[in-house]
């Protein structure tokens, strides 16, 4: 590639390390990697490498460090915040050939997996032993564990079981210097700083995980999934509050509003209750007698709050149908709108009625339709903002509404992202949630791991920190800047 001597050097090193089919320089093939799940951001990487093991991967990263070439890790490319968006002058490190489930250890309630392993495959490998892997993002049939670790992925069941960070106990990790480091392990509470806790959810900005030791959870004796129809989201929200107030922690509580239901029906014919203004999908799991007792209470609380229809699924087929409507909701919106933005924000659960009302008002005044799908149990909203790219001004209007929804989340003490990550997409919103000192302090971690800023640069933080600075003491221009070795960031 002309004008990129660093990339040339890394390419040469990659060819020594990796079989030919795993080193891609052909522009047409490079282009197939130009985006992740957030496809309106596109950048063609200078080089794609597909290593087969940690040694190959570490070798490439080491070469990147030596030549100051940025690198971006990519698993299945399903991310929704542009976290795996390539760097035009950098290397895209794809983990899709590292797909070995190294060990399943039910006695220890652990599995050891490579980063390219598909989320659902961990559960498939553990199920014969009576175990499963709890974090279940909607994309679990295609998303990779490496991507989950980078993004700290959630899913419908994190209300009860937590996120990826609660289920990753150890990792083999390649630092931005190309060193292979062990973080955590099969046993809990490894002495020293919890670096793994910092790495999980750091969106590939601290290095690349080449193996993860994950917790396996015992399959519950009983699972009951209930589909409940309400006239309005207010009623459904009140039912959620009542369930939580009763001291019940369901495995999942999901809500969809009328527009989201309409889309799901059009796409997958999930047969949700007719005329519902909102549905809840509530899942209870655990020991059979306990679940039965909780179910009685949940049924009563839903009725008390105006439920007009309740359907209980106990067998896997019925359950799958209920979940199909919910899990396909994002894609289903494509049936009712040519284009849409998937937003991801969080509010305190109790602010739900107020925020939904505000979203409806935003939608009303702007004329932009918003379908609401969310993890109601933990206040994680996924408003789907609908628009038609081919119509003048619609994309901009949708973008504006989508941003205003994030502002609502922040105003109510919530977060700009609950599970999709900051990535490229939301770095500009970070200063609305954290002040300069907060962001500066977070970047101390970045400086410790990656002082040269070559690991997924440009993601998460709106402004990189110059790592040579002594914290809190700013004296004139940065030495690299003065010497003309670095541009003003």
């Amino acid at each position: 590639m002309p004008g990129m001597p660093g990339v040339d050097a890394v390419t040469q090193r990659a060819r020594e390390l990796i079989p030919p089919e795993g080193v891609i320089t052909d522009v047409a093939r490079l282009r197939t990697y130009e985006c992740d799940g957030l496809s309106h951001y596109r950048v063609v990487p200078a080089l794609v490498v597909i290593p087969e093991d940690a040694a190959q991967l570490a070798g490439v990263v080491g070469a990147c460090a030596e030549h100051g070439v940025p690198f971006v890790a990519r698993g299945s490319g399903t991310g929704l915040s542009g976290g795996a968006l390539p760097h035009a002058e950098g290397v895209l490190v794809v983990t899709s050939k590292m797909r070995t489930i190294t060990a399943v250890r039910p006695d220890d309630q652990r599995a050891v997996v490579e980063p390219g392993v598909i989320n659902l495959d961990v559960t498939r490998a553990a199920t014969p032993h009576g175990y499963y892997y709890a974090p279940d993002p909607s994309s679990q049939q295609i998303c990779s564990i490496g991507g989950n670790v980078a993004e700290n992925s959630g899913g419908a069941h994190c209300l009860k079981y937590g996120f990826t960070t609660n289920h990753v106990l150890g990792a083999e990790f390649v630092s931005p210097q190309g060193d292979v480091v062990q973080l955590g392990g099969i046993a809990p509470d490894t002495p020293g700083y919890d670096l793994l806790g910092a790495v999980v959810g750091s969106e590939g900005t601290l290095g690349i995980v080449t193996s993860a030791t994950v917790r396996l959870v015992r399959l519950p004796e009983e699972v009951r999934t209930i589909l409940v129809g309400f006239a309005s989201t207010d009623q459904a929200g009140a039912a959620v509050s009542a369930i939580i107030a009763a001291g019940i922690v369901p495995a999942a509580i999901e809500m969809m509003d009328a527009l989201a239901i309409e889309a799901a029906e059009a796409a997958v014919h999930c047969n949700y209750p007719d005329g519902a203004g909102a549905v809840l999908v509530i899942e209870l799991d655990g020991a059979a007698v306990e679940v039965a007792a909780e179910y009685d209470e949940v049924e009563r609380l839903c009725n008390d709050n105006g439920a007009f229809e309740q359907r209980l699924a106990t067998d896997p087929a019925d359950r799958a149908l209920i979940w199909k409507g919910r899990k396909s909701a994002f894609a289903a919106v494509g049936r009712i709108s040519p284009d849409y933005i998937v937003q991801d924000g969080v509010i305190p659960r109790t602010a739900l009625p107020e925020v939904l009302k505000a979203i409806a008002e935003l939608s009303g005044t702007s004329g932009v339709r918003v379908a609401n799908v969310f993890h109601a149990g933990d206040g994680n909203l996924h408003p789907l903002v609908l628009f038609d790219e081919s119509k003048d001004g619609e994309a901009e209007a949708a973008e504006e509404v989508s941003g205003a929804i994030l502002d609502l989340c922040i105003e109510h003490g919530g977060s700009i992202t609950g599970e999709h990550g900051v990535g490229m997409d939301k770095a500009r919103y970070m200063p609305r949630m954290y002040d300069e000192a907060d962001l500066d302090t977070m970047q101390l971690v970045r400086c410790a791991f990656d002082p040269d800023g070559i690991s997924n640069p440009g993601k998460v933080f709106p402004t990189p920190r110059l790592c040579g600075e002594v914290p809190g003491r700013h004296k004139g221009a940065h030495p690299l800047q003065e010497a003309g070795l670095a541009e003003v960031f």
Binding site: S202, G247, A287, A293, G413, I416, L439, M442, V445
Partner: protein
Amino acid sequence: MEEAHPTSTAEVAEVLGDATSRGLTVVARGRGTKQGWGMPPTSADLVVDLSGLARVLDHQAGDLIVDTQAGALLSDVQDVVGTERQRLVLEETVPGTTVGGALATNTSGPQRMFFGTARDLLIGVTVVRADGVVAKAGGRVVKNVAGYDLGKLVIGSYGTLAVITEAVFRLHPLPDVERWVVTPVDGPGRAHELAQAVVHSQAVPWAVEVDLPASGPGTLGVLLGGKAEGVADRAETVRRLLGDAAEVTDTTPPGWAAYPAGPVLLKLTFALSGLRDVLTAAREAGVHVRGSAGAGVVHAAADDAGALDALRAVCARHGGSVVVVDAPDDVKQAVDVWGPVPALDLMRRVKDQFDPEHRLAPGRFVGGI
């Protein structure tokens, strides 16, 4: 040695800013219940006493969260959230501990098996850096992936990265009922078999605790909590698994959630399948072991650190470690308190960024950090 008694995050910032300009080394203290843990700091010009930051700031029952100052007693937090039948599942393994102290030393009790540890419960944190800058991470919602999770870094950091001044936790509902199923066990083999049987059952145990004295029989205790009908049924399932000698009780068993007592306190970790070997080694070494057979974390009380190497070898074989949590200074000086620490170089780099002059509890933590 000077002492400062700030009553707010802003005052802590002022104190640390002043200490920076004077080049003072600083040690943070809550109620001082674990002040002796870790290595003794090589220097402590200033003690920042956080017991004046004792307020539980905000309990949002509907959102199942609590926001508290770091100097608040853990028991005060429980009292506040308990009024709404909620609890913070961070057990008070050391009586009189503060929130900040529990976080800084990452203490945990029996229910970590089901509910996790501080890292699984802390959702937001405010810290004051060595240079006096106030920073926060996380927030007030459970689900949040915006930015780095600094809370995880400061948990268990023994005050060497920053001073924790405020914490937001997720809460859990108080269970309607709690039951313990307790059985005597004659030794490591039986304890291991029974623990495995319960751990891999579908009875949803909240805790599986082993308590094995240096010699003679010990006990295995299982905690279940939740709705009355469900708990009764689960307790019966566990009772059957544990055999004829097992008893169901609604009284907290003796020693529950307390570390075993002795001059030297060790923390042993291991993969679950290593329980038998670890207990056997402890018994051979003549130390009293108590802790979570269901999580792979137990504490041992010993008269001296003579068994350290043998225990380290067996825990390492099962993927774990042994840390000398507390011991007389002469014992600490004579042994490697923290044991082998992987990724130490990266940890030093983190320390260098947060506290470049190494003024926060110098020498207290791993690798002399």
